[in-house]
Symmetry: C2
Subunit: 330 residues, 2 copies
Amino acid sequence: MPELRKDPVVGRWVIISTERARRPSDFGPEPVRAKGGHCVFCPGNEDKTPPEVLAGRPPHTAPNTPGWTYRVVPNKFPALRIEGELEPSGEGLYDRMNGIGAHEVVIESPDHQASLATLGTEVVADALLACRERVLDLKKDPRFEYILIFKNHGEAAGASLEHPHSQLIATPIIPIMVKEELDGGARYYDLKQRCVWCDIIRQDRGGRRMILEDNGFIVLAPFAPRFPFETWIMPRAHRSSFEESGYDDLHGLARTLREFLGRMNRVLNTPPYNFMLHTAPLHDSRLPHFHWHLEIIPKLTKVAGFEWGSGFFINPMGPEDSAGHLREAP
Amino acid sequence: MPELRKDPVVGRWVIISTERARRPSDFGPEPVRAKGGHCVFCPGNEDKTPPEVLAGRPPHTAPNTPGWTYRVVPNKFPALRIEGELEPSGEGLYDRMNGIGAHEVVIESPDHQASLATLGTEVVADALLACRERVLDLKKDPRFEYILIFKNHGEAAGASLEHPHSQLIATPIIPIMVKEELDGGARYYDLKQRCVWCDIIRQDRGGRRMILEDNGFIVLAPFAPRFPFETWIMPRAHRSSFEESGYDDLHGLARTLREFLGRMNRVLNTPPYNFMLHTAPLHDSRLPHFHWHLEIIPKLTKVAGFEWGSGFFINPMGPEDSAGHLREAP
């Protein structure tokens, strides 16, 4: 059973997941991964994943057989386990609880070679709609406080499989980074009676940090990005919960995300990247001080001692420059 | 001039350092670096670095000539600039200031092939004493609030040069990670009237997370480590400021650090690693709620979307296991 542990100084929780009983020799600076050949996410290998919890497939096909357009399956090597209770306990001054949660994979297409930038808008929209469905379903479980939807694309960005997929992890604790955004948003709202992300949109719309605006979404380079070409996609209108998005909203997001990723790939030569969706906690609805958004970070630089020790990031490219390149991309 | 910018939501400052006017094509997932041949830190190339600000050298040798045992030089490509004033200013809802600071490199040995684990104790102690000297000198500059001493060892850990060296960066702002530790330490002290790190030492000394204890220092795997084999080295006695360490203290640290790095290299096959020294802010002396410590993280795993989006880290090895391997290392 994985374990959640809290740092007694800063209150950051970590997941200790020792299920695979790793030895020191399992770690290498560049772990070797099997490439090519057999892919557990490809059609025909449905029995190599845990049984699907959701899929887009014609009515005449059976679950866990070929014919699907997307599949959502539990992660075979989950960071957190769905079975059990949290059983929080202490160990002297330390706090721990069982590593309860859900860890699912959204296989976005049967096509191993595809990517969100090359798939059709309908396919991308289906993946987003599948994420929404899974959030709405997992939200019923009272043990979960938050669901983070994210993507690792490319080995340097932490992907262990090439086949196009996103992931979601439901956690029994609101992640510290989301908590910091919630707290920051609440402080700003207390002061101004306005959403800080709405104010960012008002200030930056049409300006030097704007990349594009379409389909009800705005794509911006943030004022203080940690990484070169870091980008936020936000609904133009104030919305705090991703899972309250409608069908049209998610089709709009699919078009905007594809457009952005296409430009990013042309400007940066198809880089590895991560995206992370920040939405309100599961039990908070219609927050006036939080605005959901998708953060995209191409993996272009290394994080080193100064960043790990300070939390300061050194970014060699200002957001005005990165937005300019992406705005003017062919 | 680099710029310091503050994220308007979470209050995290970043350094935008565009001096080298990078284009998108400058970024590659794995940037190619010149290897072998010419090294600017090797003896004979003293004119390839900015003039030394401190060096260990026999009295008959001139500055910036061979013969030194260690050298401290300004970084040729500094993240922050020493000249100028902060000139804080706003841009609508955003905050910025000039990127003022100091960025220095401690070249630990003339031997290009050496490392802290293989250098003699005296040499390591000299490097630590040089860091202390530089902190005491830079502390006189009223523009600086903090100095982070850190090391990037190996390309995967962000080192751009092989030659053994550490770095220090003086910042006009207390880094957010240090602030979080200060705040966490103060909360604990308010509650208990005790230093949380002293309590950690009391609880873990001789236990499953202890790696070694010697020379007035204790080496522990923290209860909630972000990374496999993450390790803290702390003075046994309560001390808040590294730069108040005496000659004997730093010789003790040198011996303990060498011993730890030797064991880490044997257990993990000489991994790339970072260390970061967390000490009290420059203008805070003898804090009862802060305890200086060195954090060491071998670079064994990749940080991916879940970590970047949540602040949760998934660690495949518990600290009891990593401490066991390091405790029993030959």
